[in-house]
């Protein structure tokens, strides 16, 4: 399959003369091929990859999970464990020297000194048992030979430069005392400490909230301008790439499929994969009725397709007056869900975490209510409280005229079948020991206990068919499916009881963009077919905008603003909403 992708022709922009920056390349990667030896034999992670990173320039490396982009970065640092990894072919030239043939001790003098690196997970990338100052200073002591005192002074200076508040306090803190954004700043300070010629950033903002992401991106841009270093920025997010990179390399299934200046690439992408990748991400305006997917642009074998014109019909959102004609289905009044914080010998309650703190909202039948907010704002707790999967502390939930909050166990069991939930993590939302058939049958038996097994199996097949899988998948186990397929199974399970209302809790957040588009489209199709009502919870403002009729913005347990999608996105009233919207990477 991979050969065809390559055959479809992406060697077009190999002319190095095109590359911007100060003209000369700092890094030249030529014909790089990396293999991994696994239980299932040899797996090619990167094949025949070539590109340059200009001095002082930024190259964005884009691709979905498993495309080989992180392996490329690790190869540049020579941090691929061998075995199981093996660099089978190619050259990596850094400032004139061949990195792949350097001795390990000379390579160590490049790592951290001439090439700095920051990673995706700030939470786990710092050593939990050493102080921040120690971790940054040890780079300086290692490479610059600074004394303990001098290294500490320089560290303090670096922490100030990356914009950390109270650097004197942070230098003596441990990682767990810092927020995710702060940790990523420390990682940047650490990587920048020896003023490297090249900074490799592997998904540096993926784990961060949008507002923090913006701050970190700004900081990286600022530092790059000040020190004139080159930057290799790896991400799956095209919006982010457009903000930082002047040159983009697109990877797909271990291959480079396209390369070019960012603006040109976004406007005139040639490879169908790139075009699909750009199109499948919902924009803030001008979206089609259903999102385009990579599958609209090319076949699984890599052959380009013509996108049918009916796929391009624009999305039409209903006006507020029209929306308000629908009957309310879920009415929430002053809902509070507090978690007790226990302490002491016998678990006395010492404090309360106000996860949801007085939220009122109405969700109307057949509509989608989008709930956005940053991590920890209480949006997930609100979703679970509606189904009483988490017990609310106070307030009222009315579903179709019936009290949810006051329902006894029997009434609640009955009500829950009309309200379902689709989860975020496709890996923990399916019981690994049950086949797809068992998973669906469990739901179907709850719904219609009297029906025969054969009838249930038939319904299960139909459900799978409806969510884009097939009856042949019934006998399989969850671990045999990809993330997107598991999410489809989760949707089928929820559909099995024919609910009216579904809570989608970050249901597409863990998926690659192209798969995300497919699932969003599926949700819209199902809504149209069954008249479903959604509460769509997400941290991703573009996705919420695309799918929602009404949008609510949550912060610190409270609903700070609430209106139609259009109102919120074009005329935000609250400062918090404005700040959130300003932080969205705009793309081009």
């Amino acid at each position: 399959m991979t050969a065809r992708v390559q055959g479809s022709g992406f060697r077009v922009q190999e002319d190095p003369g095109q590359i911007e920056g100060s003209g000369q390349a700092l890094v030249r990667i030529d014909g790089l091929t990396v293999d991994f030896h696994t239980e299932d034999g040899r797996v090619r992670a990167v094949e025949d990859l070539s590109f340059d990173i200009p001095k002082g320039g930024t190259v964005g490396l884009v691709g979905e999970s498993g495309s080989g982009k992180s392996v490329t970065a690790m190869t540049l640092m020579r941090l691929i464990p061998t075995p199981p990894g093996e660099i089978s072919a190619g050259r990596v030239e850094f400032d004139g020297q061949d990195l792949l043939s350097l001795s390990e001790s000379r390579m160590r003098r490049i790592r951290g000194k001439r090439i700095g690196m920051i990673f995706q997970e700030p939470m786990t990338s710092l050593n939990p048992v050493f102080r921040i100052g120690e971790q940054v200073a040890e780079v300086l002591r290692q490479h610059e030979g600074l004394s303990r005192r001098a290294a500490r002074d320089r560290t303090l200076d670096l922490l100030t430069q990356v914009g950390l508040p109270r650097p004197k306090q942070i230098i003596d803190s441990y990682p767990h005392q810092l927020s995710g954004g702060q940790k990523q700043r420390v990682m940047i300070a650490q990587a920048m400490s020896c003023e490297p010629d090249l900074l490799i950033a592997d998904e540096p903002t993926t784990a961060l909230d949008v507002t923090i992401q913006k701050q970190v991106l700004d900081l990286m841009g600022e530092l790059q301008a000040r020190y004139g270093m080159s930057l290799l920025f790896i991400t799956h997010d095209l919006g982010v790439i457009a903000e930082v990179a002047s040159q983009v390399v697109v990877m797909y299934r271990s291959h480079k499929v396209e390369e070019g200046p960012t603006e040109a690439l976004f406007q005139r992408a040639e490879h169908p994969y790139t075009r699909g990748l750009i199109a499948c991400r919902p924009a803030l305006e001008g979206n089609p009725r259903r999102l385009l997917t990579v599958g609209d642009f090319m076949t699984a074998e890599g052959e380009a397709l013509e996108v049918p014109s009916d796929r391009l019909l624009p999305q039409v959102k209903r006006s507020e007056a029209e929306l308000d004609k629908d009957k309310p289905l879920v009415e929430v009044t002053d809902l509070k869900t507090w978690y007790p914080v226990t302490g002491g010998l016998f678990g006395k309650v010492v404090d309360q975490v106000r996860a949801v703190d007085g939220v009122s909202l109405t969700i109307r039948r057949g509509q989608t209510f989008g709930l956005v907010g940053e991590s920890g704002c209480g949006k997930t707790t609100l979703g679970r409280s509606l189904l009483r999967l988490t017990e609310p502390t106070a307030g009222q939930i009315v579903f179709d005229g019936e009290q949810v909050t006051a329902a006894d166990e029997r009434a609640l069991r009955r009500l829950r079948k009309r309200m379902q939930i689709i989860f975020q993590d496709p890996y923990s939302s399916l019981n690994p020991r049950m086949t797809v058939a068992d998973i669906l049958l469990e739901a179907l038996r709850e719904f219609r206990p009297k029906a025969s097994r054969a009838e249930h199996r038939e319904t299960a097949s139909a459900l799978l068919d409806r969510v884009g899988l097939s009856a042949s998948h019934l006998g399989r186990y969850p671990h045999e499916f990809s993330g997107g397929q598991r999410q489809r199974i989760g949707i089928a399970r929820a559909l099995a009881v024919q609910p009216e209302f579904m809570v989608c809790d970050e249901s597409v957040s863990a998926l690659d963009v192209s798969v995300q588009a497919q699932i969003l489209n599926l949700l819209l199709d199902l809504q149209e077919e069954f008249g479903l009502t959604y509460l769509f919870i997400s941290h991703d403002l573009s996705v919420v905008n695309f799918i929602s009729d009404y949008v609510g913005v949550m912060n610190e347990g409270k609903l700070v603003e609430y209106g139609t999608a259009e109102q919120i996105y074009t005329h935000p009233q609250q400062d918090y909403t404005k700040k959130l919207l300003a932080a969205i990477p705009r793309g081009l």
């Binding site: 710092l126 290692q142 441990y174 010998l345």
Partner: protein, 308 residues
């Protein structure tokens, strides 16, 4: 904060110790027989006199409360078997021996176990790793009461390098075999534990960061990984200490050492109520204190743990 934490933990240990004393007290009292009905066949009036002397003629509940009271005053009572000694004196004599034996064994197990485990993790899946871990597994599979006679057979009987038993005033020559016999199984366990935890730590993100910083391998291994990888080993110290105390009962018996463990089995067989109780209490307190020390060490290594 630390003193308050220690106080709180010690208060928290009171129920444990109370339960221990209670169980042990009633368990040994409901046993058939008493301390004076050996083969001596004392006349009834002398027996009654003896029992009155030691308050054994009173109701069990009263005896229990009396005993608790004297324990709280730090008095473990007179020994029935060694009638010239108090239990306090006997324990003061045996405790240092046991402590030295157990302490040396624990240190040895810890030190060599960690070193072996680290080397095995560093050379993960090499022949050296397999050799070390295979030996460690063998070490775990050979209980110390099997190991001890074998060691004696070779080093004392066949080669005659070391004494087969006796304390010798705590001379190094006399210590070598008992300490090795006691330490080896736990050393093997610590080695396996260290290797496992080290291998996992070496895969973690922060080790990748340390590599990307260009740190030399010894720093990555000996500084960044080891400190984190030691945490499970530290947690194991509590159970290990308890096991070593238990193991020293047989080791003291096999090597004929004048430690505390020896008193226990003999005392129990002779129904020497106070001596048995004394040993149980000392060991209970020892375990409580040791667990507390382990928790404090843990919190010193891992800043995420706070005393609360």
């Amino acid at each position: 904060m630390l003193p308050r934490y220690i106080l709180k933990r010690l208060l928290g240990a009171i129920p444990t110790l109370l339960i221990l004393v209670t169980i042990a007290f009633f368990l040994i009292r409901i046993a058939p027989g008493g301390p004076f009905d050996d083969d001596r066949n004392l006349p009834p009036d002398i027996l009654a006199n003896l029992e009155a002397k030691y308050n054994l003629d009173q109701p069990l509940g009263v005896q229990y409360l009396n005993y608790l009271g004297s324990v709280l005053r730090g008095d473990l009572g007179p020994s029935f078997q060694y009638s010239d000694f108090t239990v306090n004196e006997l324990i003061a004599e045996g405790f240092p021996v046991s402590l030295r034996l157990g302490g040396s064994a624990l240190l040895m197990a810890l030190l060599f176990g960690v070193i072996i485990g680290t080397i095995a993790a560093w050379r993960q899946n090499s022949r050296l790793d397999y050799l070390l871990m295979g030996s460690a597994m063998t070490g775990i599979a050979i209980p110390n009461f099997v190991l001890a006679p074998i060691l004696i057979l070779f080093f004392a009987v066949y080669f005659g390098w070391l004494p087969a038993g006796g304390w010798g005033g705590g001379a190094l020559r006399n210590m070598v075999l008992p300490v090795i016999a006691l330490a080896l199984p736990y050393m093997a366990y610590v080695a396996r534990l260290t290797r496992g935890s080290m291998v996992e730590t070496l895969r973690s993100d922060f080790v990748r960061t340390a590599r990307a910083k260009g740190l030399p391998e010894w720093k990555i291994l000996g500084k960044h990984s080891l400190k984190v990888a030691l945490l499970p080993v530290v947690s194991y110290l509590g159970p290990a200490a308890a096991a070593i105390i238990t193991g020293s009962v047989v080791i003291e018996q096999i090597f004929g050492l004048p430690g505390m463990g020896r008193y226990f089995v003999q005392g129990a067989l002779n129904r020497d109520y106070t001596l048995v109780m004394g040993v149980v209490i000392v060991i209970g307190v020892l375990i409580v204190v040791f667990n507390l020390i382990v928790d404090i060490i843990y919190a010193l290594i891992d800043p995420r743990i706070r005393y609360e």
